[in-house]
Each structure stands twice: as C-alpha cells, then as structure tokens.
C-alpha cells in the first residue's frame, strides 16, 4: 500500500465514520435509555432520504438545507409512534418490542414501496462528486459536509444530554427508571422525547445518505444492521461510545475492503464476534 493510497484510504474511512456515527446515534440512544432495539431505525433513515430527495427534486431545495425539515418530520413521527405504539410494549419482554419494531419496519418500507415504487434514486446536485485535493488525497465536498453535519449533531446531542434539564432527565431515566420517577421525571414524556430524538437523528442520517449512495425503500435494513454492530462494538451508555464504534467499523470495513473486498463484511463481523468474546461490554463501554 503506497503512501498516497494509504492517505486516501485513511480519509475515506474518516469520512465514512462520521455518517456511520450519525446512523447509529439515534439507535444507540433509544437502546441505551429505553432498552428497545429499534428495528425500524433503518426505515426512519429511508424516510429522511425520501424527504430530502423530494424537496430537492420538486422544489429545488438544496439537500443540506432540507436536513432540518427531515429531522423535524421524523421527530414528530417518532413522538407519535412512541406514544401510540411503543408505549404499549414498554414493560413487555424484549421479544415483544422486537416484533413491534420489526413489524413497523415492514409497514413503513412497504408503504414507501407502494407510494414511490422500488425505483433507485439519488440526490444529484451541481456539486455532487466535486471536491478538492490535499496533496494526493481527494476530499469530496458532500462527504466532507456529511462529516461536518454528523459531528455537529453528535456534539449537539452530547451537549443536550449533559447540559439541559430534559437531557439530564433522559439520562436519569436510562440509569434508574424508578429513581427518576421518584424525583418527579415524567417518564412517558421522556420516553417520547428520547424516541423522537432517535428518529430525528435517523432522519438527518437519511438526508445525508441520499446524497452519497443510490437508495430505494430497502436501503434501511443494512443500516439497522450497521447501527447494531456499531453499538455492540462501541458499547452503549454515551455518545462517545457511538463515535468510537463507528470509527472502528468504518476503518475495518475500508481497510479490509482495500485489499480483500470480497471478505470485507465477513472480516468486519468476525471482529465483532471476537470483541464480544473478549470485551462483551464493547470497546469503550463500562462493565456493568
């Protein structure tokens, strides 16, 4: 591997880490706080991608500007889904939440398929594929922008959870449900807010992905898997773990892909299994 190639691969992995962190962020939050493995997370990502696509295609809105719209729409939807559906199974065994969110995923994906067909779509702007060169390394603007947006949202969420009253209530609920309730935290509202934030983050990830990869209604499934793997790699508990998990996933995927592309997925998941054996709490997670 020459120096120029190594530099490019490093940058590719770095750029991929950002978007993967955002993909896993909402998933990790919902899992960590509510103990719900949200299998519909990928479907929320797809919805975000479609919102950005249609705003760009029909109204000519720049895809980066449509990110807040996608986030708000998914936040609202997430709130509604939590209050209407997830709340029904919040005390139920894990299997029930699996079934519910899995069903939700099928429902959303098939509705999108019904209304928008299985056509592959991409958001292609005048600046798609353009970028600048740093030495021998090429940096495409869209992926750089996606990294920046991801970092802002990751940092924003970290700050929100640490510094605001609602944020602290969310963390408290995740740590000890009963204690939080005793101190006057309205758990139902906190859960709705948590799930809505998770969905909103998925919406933002979908917006960004729509500019980077061609997508159809089935895009999300693979990203739910990736989010799951990232959470396991990094460990649950806080925002930094998600970033670490995403970085490991991206670097392994890209570096293995550079030499043994047909094995990249097998190796990535083999490392996942290995880590689970050696450090079941995740690379950065705390032992419970």
């Amino acid at each position: 591997m020459g120096g120029a190639e190594l530099g490019q691969i490093f940058v590719n992995a770095l750029l991929l880490s950002g978007i993967l962190a955002l993909v896993a962020l909402g998933f990790s939050l919902v899992w960590g706080i509510m103990n719900i493995v949200n299998l519909a997370h990928g479907a929320f990502i797809v919805l975000g991608a479609y919102i950005t696509f249609f705003l760009h295609e029909l109204l000519g809105i720049d895809p980066f500007l449509s990110i807040p719209v996608a986030m708000l729409a998914l936040f609202t939807l997430g709130w509604g889904i939590q209050r209407g559906l997830i709340n029904q199974v919040i005390r139920a065994p894990l299997l029930a939440t699996f079934l519910l969110t899995f069903g939700l995923e099928l429902l959303i994906v098939n509705l999108i398929n019904f209304f928008f067909k299985a056509d592959l779509r991409s958001v292609t702007t005048a600046y798609s594929g353009t970028g600048f060169t740093l030495g021998t390394v090429r940096i495409p603007y869209i992926r750089l922008g996606a990294l920046a947006v991801s970092l802002v949202l990751v940092a924003g969420l970290a700050w929100y959870l640490k510094a605001t009253r609602t944020g602290r209530a969310i963390r408290a609920t995740g740590m000890d449900l009963d204690a939080a309730r005793l101190t006057g935290v309205k758990v139902a509202t906190i859960y709705a807010a948590t799930f809505a934030i998770g969905a909103g983050m998925a919406g933002a990830a979908g917006s960004l992905l729509s500019m980077m990869v061609p997508f159809d209604p089935t895009l999300g499934g693979g990203y739910t898997q990736r989010a799951f793997a990232i959470c396991v790699l990094g460990g649950l508990g806080n925002v930094a773990n998600v970033v670490i998990g995403a970085a490991i996933f991206a670097f392994v995927d890209v570096f293995v892909g550079a030499r043994l592309p047909s094995l990249s997925r097998a190796v990535t998941f083999a490392i996942l299994v290995l880590l689970l054996i050696l450090r079941p709490q995740g690379v950065a997670g705390k032992r419970v």
Partner: protein
C-alpha cells in the same frame, strides 16, 4: 412421467372448479419474480415483458393446438429478491397452483434455485433473466435461457475500445460477489487477457455494498485505461458516483448492468455521460423475426403504446417477452401440452425473433445471439454504438476526465 386417466380427470375437475369460465381453453404459466427487494425494478421489467407478450398472443387468438385456441394465463408470486423464496414459490406454483409451465424469475441466483425444482417435477422453464452459466453446467434438462450468457456481456466493450484505440494496455475489473456478476467479471478479464491486455485489478465486492471507495482508491493507483464493472444497477450507480468523488478517470468506463436502464441517467444526471453499458437488446438493432412484432422497432412501438410510462425500453422487458414467444412456438411445434414433449420442442427450437435468434445449445443456453453495447452521450440520449454494423452513432472516446468537463 405419464399422467394416468383418473389423475388427469381429477386435475381437470379441480381446474374446472377453480376457474369455471377459463378452464377449457387456458394454458397456465407460473412465475416468481422479484417485485420487492433489491431487484424489484428489474423484476417489474420482467413481469411487464411477460404480460405484454401474453396480452399480444392472447389478442391474436392465443396458442393453436390441434385446431383449438388456448389463451395464456400467468400466475405471479413475489420472491422478494430472495433466491431461497424463489424455490419455494416454484414448488407452490407447480404443486398448489398446478401451472403447466414456468417462466423464469429475475436474476441468475433465483434462476439457479428454480432450475432444480423444475427438474424435479419435469416442468419446462424458459427463463429470460438468468445468464450465469453455472445454472446450465449442472445438466438440467428442463431449464432454458433465451439470453446471451454472462461471460459475453463485456466482450463487445473490450472489442469496441480496442478498435478505437490501439494504445490501450490495462484493464481493471470489479464485480459483485454473486454467481452472475462473478461470471461476467471473470469472462471480461479472460477475454481482455486473450486480447493481450493486462488485467491490473480484478476483485469482487459484497452484494449490497454501500461503499466502494476502497476498491476505487486501489484502482486509481493502478491508473488503468479501462474500468469495467460487473454488478447490478445500484452498484453501477455507486461506482460512478464514487469514481467521480475520488477522481478515477479511465479512458473508458462500462458496466454489464445499469446503463441500459432509464434510472441510470435519472440518478446520475450528466455524470452518466460517456459511460458504456452492455445490453442484451436495444430497439436500434436490426432483426427481422417471425413473431407478432417482427422487428425491435415494431416491438418497441407496440410496447410503449400499451405501457406509456416507459421511454427507453430496458432489455429485461424484451427478453422476457421473447421467453413467452419461445414457449408459444415450442408448444405449437410440440402439438401437445405434455411437459416432456414441450421440453423436446424447446430444445429443438430455432427461430428468428424481434429479440434476435433464439436457439439453445446442448446445455439450454442461447449462445447464438450477440450482445450489444450502448453509450450515454452528452446530448442526453443513449445510443447503440456496437456492433458497428447496427451502430446508431459513433462511440465517444476517450471519456474526458471528471474535472475537465463543463
């Protein structure tokens, strides 16, 4: 296997009960195509191609058998782009729906799982969308493909570039890790070597990949004259997008699947310019057949009249219609609905159609029809540029570097 009289009577009675109005004069076909999942789009093309041919044949009176006219009906299932489901659905079509013949699914992997089921029940299948030769290397007697085999897909593109430019020396090939694409990729690499080119990169990426930057970075370092992609539409789009991201600018770039689909330009806009694609069929080709439409043009005009949502007609549509025509002709030649006799008639078939010659080698694959090459050009249209005898326009070569374009 010969049906006994009571069983035939029973079947007849059951069919009568199920379809009282149609029973006397309908031949039932079954198909499991991907209407959802990864290849949903191609599955839709397949179904539309089958349906159009069936409607046309039915409108012209149907299949004539012993002086009697039979209409065709097709029962569809959605295999969700999962080749495991295809096998189950084919069993269901044969056992529960009691279809007489099978039309193939979309894709090589599902065709590969459907073939042993058809073999088991001795039900003939003509498929139009699975060209991996691995399907035909297992000695199945009841599976036939009207399309050209996978290894020929990118051959024409290599010939085209070499006829344009004697100085090309290097090729990079990247393919999806699944049976069809693997054969396309290795077929292209073998042919390039045979022609004296150096294959500087040949790798496979996993199905459903979302990032090919690592492969393209490696390719960029080797600076090949030609980059060939063997995957499906989604992969081809991703490769072009990331090739531009990373500034990978070979003299020619082409794909086995993708560019021939109208979605290729819809997704990539002007970034689709100069890209080559191989295709089983285009309406610019010049064939003179004995089917209801005779020529590619005739087929295209008739198809669009019935399906106005189509602009350019993807080859998957045409080859699917061709499979139906091949079945009709074989059944008429056999003069019976007996599966074994129809199977023999298919094996002996040799007809010229709007789709090209349909004739099967001893394995059941149509090695008699050539592939064509198309190019997306900056005027926003797609032209058939190879073979030169039927080219609509001259190929634009070399492809300008990404950063040298307006």
């Amino acid at each position: 296997m010969k049906r006994t009289a009571p069983a035939a009577l029973l079947t007849f009675a059951l069919v009568l009960g199920a379809f009282p109005a149609l029973a006397e004069d309908t031949i039932s076909f079954g198909a499991a195509v991907s209407l959802t999942g990864k290849t949903a789009k191609e599955g839709e093309y397949t179904r539309d191609g089958y349906n159009f041919a069936v409607e046309t044949v039915n409108a012209q009176g149907g299949i004539v058998l012993g002086g009697k006219k039979y209409k065709i009906a097709v029962k569809y299932y959605d295999d969700e782009s999962k080749s495991e489901s295809t096998a189950q659905l084919i069993e269901k079509l044969i056992n529960e729906d009691k279809v007489t013949f099978i039309l193939g699914p979309y894709g090589s992997a599902p065709s590969g799982t459907a073939a042993p089921i058809c073999e088991k029940y001795k039900i003939p299948m003509i498929e139009a969308n699975g060209s991996a030769e691995s399907i035909f290397s297992k000695g199945y007697k009841y599976t036939f493909a009207v399309l050209s085999p996978a290894k020929l897909y990118l051959k024409g593109l290599i010939d085209l570039v070499m006829s344009k430019d004697k100085s090309v020396t290097t090729v990079a090939v990247l393919g999806e890790n699944e049976p069809f694409s693997k054969e396309v990729a290795s077929g292209a690499a073998d042919y390039a070597r045979e022609k004296g080119l150096q294959v500087v990169y040949q790798e496979l990426y996993p199905t459903g990949t979302q990032d090919v930057s690592a492969l393209l970075t490696n390719i960029k370092g080797k600076n090949p004259d030609i980059v060939l992609g063997a995957g499906h539409l989604q992969d081809s789009l991703l490769i072009v997008k990331q090739a531009k991201d990373l500034g990978v600018s070979p003299k020619a770039m082409g794909f086995s699947v993708g560019p021939s689909s109208p979605e290729f330009r819809a997704n990539l806009k002007s970034n689709a310019d100069y890209i080559f694609g191989s295709t089983q069929w285009t309406e610019a080709l010049k064939y003179d057949g004995s089917d209801p439409w005779k020529t590619p043009k005739g087929y295209a005009v008739a198809f669009r009249a019935k399906n106005p949502k189509y602009g350019d007609i993807p080859y998957q549509v045409a080859e699917s219609s061709a499979a139906v025509i091949a079945f009709c002709r074989a059944i008429e030649n056999a003069g019976t609905l007996d599966p074994a006799k129809v199977r023999d008639a298919i094996a002996a078939l040799d007809i010229m159609t709007f789709y090209g010659q349909i004739k099967f080698d001893s394995r059941g694959i149509n090695t008699f029809k050539p592939m064509a090459i198309e190019q997306l050009q900056p005027d926003g249209h797609k032209y058939t540029v190879f073979p030169s005898s039927v080219a609509e326009k001259d190929a634009l070569y070399p492809m300008p570097a990404w950063d040298k374009r307006k």
